[in-house]
Symmetry: C2
Subunit: 288 residues, 2 copies
């Protein structure tokens, strides 16, 4: 296994198992065949063909779409379609800064294969000129990736809150980082992927941030989502990423970007170019 | 104009004006129609069709290809085809770490549209917690981009020298940065583009490096390629990039990456996602 394997994993595509999800005629997601067939049961909300799932004609505003689709999602949740239900509304839009065409619950958004956004934080400590970073072990109760290794803070981007405020909120909940410290986090770029496998098409943009933490700061989880934290040298992060799938697969993408930016992965690596180009392997914004 | 315009400029494609350049059957470059027609005059070296330029059958080793093509290049140079002739050999290979299939003079490599590699350095100074960076004004005698703004150090990657040694050499020649200081430069990622316009298909991977310079260090050009240096706040770099084409167009790509990594361009910019994804807009390594 290698770092490039982590990236290739994020690039798997199997469009045959999915049909497009269109809103106002725009392809904004991918729905697994089985879920698509189930949506035929709600003809007042979904117009389903063998190729695509669209919304019924009458749903001509974001409010109407959100309410009608939301009602169906609650019903399907009872049938067990969305195991990771969170009660967190995600925006479905043609681009990040565009007005949402509807809102979808987080687990449903994932099942609909719409582009999701999240904030990912590298909590960095400098000791004797060497960088280390805080690594979290995800709680066994997390619906996605229980027990996997993670960055110190990371979270989906729900509607109704800005990226930076969301990051500050997650910093408090996940690692008890005070707001004044969290505000020093620096945006350092975004990475993205689309992975179509099994019943899920994950289409995600990760907004990455670096935060230099005082050497005496120790993260403390406040929301039960983290089992524990450890401070790791960057070389260990690289080795564990390359040699195992211990890290949550999308967190791996954010961490590889971190290691590239800090020179821990360098051009003497034969995969360097493939790694750099693979950090953005999702289709361009607005493209099908 | 905007930062995104700088990126879009690097993405212009007009394949109709070019034909493929194939070596051992692999598409490794793009040659403008007019140059392709001229190469018909050397049937012992080039097999030219309306679609592609290949090498003649007998040229079955890198040495033979380099010598035969080199002789033609010298002849065409006399005819004025390669104004920026440098006498610097570039490798033509299916990927960066692969063995070269032939070597081509730098200006000829550009006219053949083969992928070129270069090292780009951000010379950073920290003052009162704020970052500044050294900006160079290219000499008016440079064959490419005379008088344009540039990073403190940048250079093509010729054969026969490693990336880091090349960077250290360029640091000495272009800015009199001592080797001991230059060695502290940190690789921070690569960006890439392919731009097909006019008679040139530029296909380039830029290996980016950051180097923190002492506040009392002042660069001094030693090879006549730089007219002068100035220390700029990052906000000024961003403004001039967005509002003018003063910077050499590929240097702009490297500098936008620099500004993204240092948080000067952040996610509140409506073009942030398009900018991040545009930093690698060349086709994947090994792809046509």
């Amino acid at each position: 296994m290698s770092l490039l394997d982590r990236i290739r994993y994020c690039q798997e595509r199997d469009t045959a198992r999915f049909r497009r999800f269109l809103v106002t005629g725009r392809p904004l997601g991918w729905i697994a065949q089985e879920l698509g067939e189930r949506l035929r049961g709600f003809p007042g909300v979904f117009a389903v063909s063998s190729e695509a799932v669209q919304l019924a004609d009458g749903l001509d505003s974001a409010e109407r779409r959100t309410r009608a689709v939301g009602d169906v999602m609650l019903r399907l949740r009872e049938e067990g379609w969305f195991p990771g239900w969170r009660g967190e509304a995600f925006a479905v839009a043609p681009s990040f800064h565009a007005a949402p065409l509807l809102q979808l619950e987080r687990a449903a958004a994932r099942a609909f294969g719409v582009r999701c956004y999240c904030v990912q934080l590298n909590g960095i400590v400098e000791r004797d000129g060497e960088l280390q970073t805080w690594i979290a072990r995800r709680s066994l109760s997390k619906p996605v990736g229980p027990g996997k290794l993670d960055q110190i803070v990371g979270g989906g981007q729900p509607v109704g809150i800005g990226l930076r405020d969301n990051l500050i909120k997650e910093c408090a909940e996940e690692a008890s980082i005070p707001a004044a410290l969290a505000r020093q986090a620096r945006p350092v770029g975004a990475v993205a992927y689309r992975r179509q496998a099994g019943d899920l098409c994950d289409d995600e943009v990760l907004f990455n941030y670096d935060l230099l933490l005082p050497p005496d700061f120790a993260p403390l989880n406040a929301d039960g989502e983290v089992a524990g934290f450890e401070l790791w040298p960057l070389a260990r992060v690289k080795a564990v990423l390359a040699e195992s799938d211990e890290f949550l697969f999308d967190v791996a993408l954010s961490l590889i970007d971190f290691l590239v930016r800090h020179g821990v992965i360098g051009p003497s690596d034969p995969d360097y170019i493939a790694i750099c180009e693979g950090l953005w392997s999702a289709p361009p914004e607005g493209a099908a």
